[in-house]
């Protein structure tokens, strides 16, 4: 049985981010109408797109729907993609926009049972074992805390602090003002910190959800 990161006895599978030049070539061919090149783009990027969608929606089921919608939009608007932006960044923005629409439209069901079966692939496994154990404990608590955040707060902190999108892009894709994005970011960080490092006071509360 495959388990989530840290607890798995399996070593992380090696993962290579697609090479930018090969990607640019695929994008150019897909833009010229080569659907096989588009399929190759999907194949090369879908795991990363899924990862973002999973972080944004908090569950596997919604993440898959968001990924499908994001690639449909990408397919339709590929002609408007300009090479100055990285293709993956462009795709992340579309994914963020889809997730925002999607989460607003549909009540998420919490804790899909399949969430426990995600395989985590680490693209940069450079930590030593002791540091990795500490980091992995913190990481697991953080991921659990992220899933518990209200979707609107989660979206901003994932896009800003994990994916490093600028406030301006986040605001545009979520359909909110930059100042609202900042307020949400700070609130999200505070909630994450309080969950990852609960104080004795907060432990004493029964935590009614």
């Amino acid at each position: 049985m495959v388990t989530d990161a840290g607890t798995s006895s399996r070593p992380p599978r090696s993962y290579r981010r697609p090479d930018p030049e090969a990607m640019a070539d695929l994008v150019a061919r897909a833009q010229a109408g080569d659907d096989r090149a588009f399929e190759d783009l999907v194949t090369a990027t879908h795991a990363e797109t899924y990862t973002l969608a999973r972080r944004l929606t908090g569950n596997d089921d919604d993440a898959r729907d968001v990924v499908q919608e994001a690639y449909l939009r990408a397919y339709r608007s590929l002609g408007r993609f300009r090479g100055e932006a990285r293709f993956t960044t462009w795709l992340y923005r579309i994914t963020a926009n889809c997730a925002s629409t999607y989460v607003g439209r549909r009540r998420r069901h919490r804790h899909d049972e399949l969430d426990d079966e995600l395989v985590v692939v680490d693209a940069s496994p450079e930590l030593d074992p002791a540091a990795r154990a500490d980091a992995s404990d913190l990481r697991d608590r953080l991921v659990a805390a992220l899933d518990e955040l209200p979707p609107k707060l989660r979206a901003v902190v994932v896009l800003r602090d994990v994916y490093d999108l600028p406030h301006e892009a986040i605001a545009a894709e979520l359909g909110i003002s930059e100042s609202a994005a900042k307020v949400r970011l700070h609130r999200a960080r505070r909630k994450l910190k309080d969950r990852v490092f609960p104080t004795r006071d907060e432990d004493d509360h029964p935590g009614g959800g």
């Binding site: 659907d35 399929e39 795991a47 899924y50 449909l72 490093d164 609130r187 960080r189 910190k193």
Partner: protein, 124 residues
């Protein structure tokens, strides 16, 4: 007027990436307050952990590429995608049938009415 820890909670969250968020009086408070200092340390650790999530790739259950291409096809986009899908889907449904037959045993009839079959016990 003295600054209170509770007034600083959001500012400390902001200061994790932007030290300028602390004005002079806030800074003076934090310099003398162990609680706020501990909060700042925790914010930095959470931030570092958030950033390291960026290097993770979660591997979706099998079939997502096929779902994506099917979704594009169903949205009425170009026929070229359809021809790409034909070979792919045969292989996918073949694998699905084998997996579900193995899991469910004889007597069960599985109808894959949609291409997404995530809830079925796929091997892997």
């Amino acid at each position: 007027m003295a600054v209170d820890c509770n007034e600083l909670v959001d500012i400390l969250a902001e200061a994790a990436t932007d030290p300028a968020a602390l004005d002079r009086s806030a800074r003076r408070h934090v310099e003398g307050c162990l609680r706020c200092q501990a909060d700042m340390v925790q914010h930095r650790r959470v931030l570092r952990a958030l950033r390291s999530l960026r290097t993770e790739v979660l591997e979706p259950a099998p079939g997502l590429v096929t779902e994506v291409l099917t979704h594009i096809e169903e949205a009425g986009e170009r026929h070229a995608i359809r021809s790409l899908l034909t070979g792919r889907r045969v292989a996918y449904i073949g694998g699905l049938a084998a997996a579900t037959a193995a899991a469910a045993g004889a007597g069960a009839i599985v109808i894959a009415s949609r291409s997404r079959a995530r809830r079925l016990p796929l091997a892997g």
